[in-house]
Symmetry: C2
Subunit: 284 residues, 2 copies
């Protein structure tokens, strides 16, 4: 039996609890800041322990998952660190890794281990009500050790995400941040810009949006506070993507009536896109 402590009862925290229950072999304790969230956790029978008391949740934990916004991770980590058993392994689910790993590794270095994680299984829906056991099935779960990270702790966290259904990949924190800027943070921003551009140019056009526009802009419904925090924390890499996009758009504008070049450009995109593997589970 692995004693699992989840800090934060949102979409990710709740889905981790459900996925752990589905997998079996876990004793699940969840910490929530608000008493109402504890009541909801109890009503949905999502955990063996649900509490607003950090000590009650983490004091016997083998694995602790910080599933809270990046901005509050450090202060919670400082409260948790002295309460943990020696050799506990702590991870997080933050969408940025370099600053998070640096800060949290320092906080947990004394008696325990920290290994950064980023399960790429968000949803435009937030909160416990959107949580589901299959959220991580086939989703890329990136584990981000640095040169200091304990090797055995990395194995523990790697296996943990695999048990929950994830497709586990490893990257350094810096490589992670650069890569997710390209395939997640910038595409998110781009979807929001597209929605606002249509609203500004001709809001009546929304009435005529079909399945293509629906999918292209789905992520623009994500929680603004969370994404503001992500974009700020990864602004250098995101800005590089913005600049690259501006350059490519300039280029493509000159090809709109050059059939051969445009066809080659679209064929290249189709070939790449057709090769991508994605989790079967949808964003439902």
């Amino acid at each position: 039996m692995t004693r699992l402590a989840i800090i934060g009862p949102g979409l990710l925290g709740g889905s981790i609890a459900l996925a752990a229950r589905r997998a079996g072999g876990f004793h699940v304790a969840v910490w929530a800041r608000r008493a109402e969230a504890v009541t909801e956790l109890e009503q949905r029978a999502l955990a063996e322990v649900a509490s607003t008391d950090l000590a009650a949740v983490v004091q016997e934990a083998d694995i602790v998952v910080l599933a809270v916004p990046i901005g509050v991770m450090a202060s919670l980590a400082r409260q948790i660190a002295p309460l943990l058993p020696a050799e506990a392994v702590v991870t997080d689910v933050g969408s940025i890794k370099a600053p998070v790993v640096e800060t949290l590794s320092g906080i947990f270095a004394q008696r325990t281990h920290f290994v950064g994680s980023h399960p790429m299984a968000g949803s435009e829906k937030a909160g416990l009500e959107a949580a589901r056991a299959g959220l991580f099935d086939g989703a890329p779960c990136i584990v981000t050790p640095d040169s200091q990270t304990d090797a055995a702790a990395v194995v523990t966290i790697h296996n943990f995400w695999q048990t929950l259904g994830g497709r586990v990949l490893e990257l350094s924190p810096a490589a992670h941040d650069e890569i997710v800027a390209l395939v997640s943070h910038f595409p998110h921003l781009l979807a929001a810009v597209l929605v606002n551009l249509v609203a500004e140019k001709n809001a009546a056009a929304f009435e005529f949006a079909g399945p293509g526009f629906r999918d292209t802009t789905r992520v623009a419904s994500g929680p603004p506070e969370m994404w503001t925090e992500i974009l700020r924390n990864n602004h250098t890499a995101v800005r590089a993507s913005v600049e690259a996009m501006i350059e490519k758009l300039r280029e493509i504008a000159t090809l709109l009536d050059h059939d051969a070049s445009m066809n080659a450009f679209l064929t290249q995109a189709k070939t790449q896109r057709d090769q991508l593997r994605f989790p079967k589970s949808s964003h439902a």
Copy 2:
């Protein structure tokens, strides 16, 4: 019994046949250029008549749907026009309307009526094998009369798409082209640019793409020849969207570390996106 002639057995033509069968009250005839496509139509029992002979398909038609690429519409229309019964109503499914409506209205003006249509229910999958009866359910089906179009013929085509499950809307051909540039043609191009940008900057990043990137880029898998033709035919409006996007990206690049402004920007996008209505049916 409405005698329906469908010219072209692709995704749209095949889905129209299936949707008409589901609705009932239609005698369906389908023309295909290739004998193999006729065999496939017969094997799937998609139509009462399947033939490579235009006359056999259209000679008793009440409604004719041109479901072929824009580039071949005019020449097919010229062959069909003299074969049609008087008072037949012809429509098409082209993604561009101003040039198509102008050309086809002229060709059919003698004894019959033409009304432009654009069912916004494509898919990244092309061909008869992807056809399905529910393709139009809840999808925006835009009917594009101009000042010359026969009013009774507009009603016929309006009702036709409604019977097939579509949500029918009307626009002038010019307004149509401007609006679909914003919500369809430019977003399509943008998805292709995003895929090619990631490929160029760091192709290893594809391995880390999650459901967000999957949905944002889905349309980039669409048929390149068709989209090349669409983008060329609507290049003025698409170029205007490209320019507007470049301007908005410049603006947003300066807000990446300004939390309040970025939060307001993302909140505006979320609010707009959350208000959009979309067909229930997915792109399956």
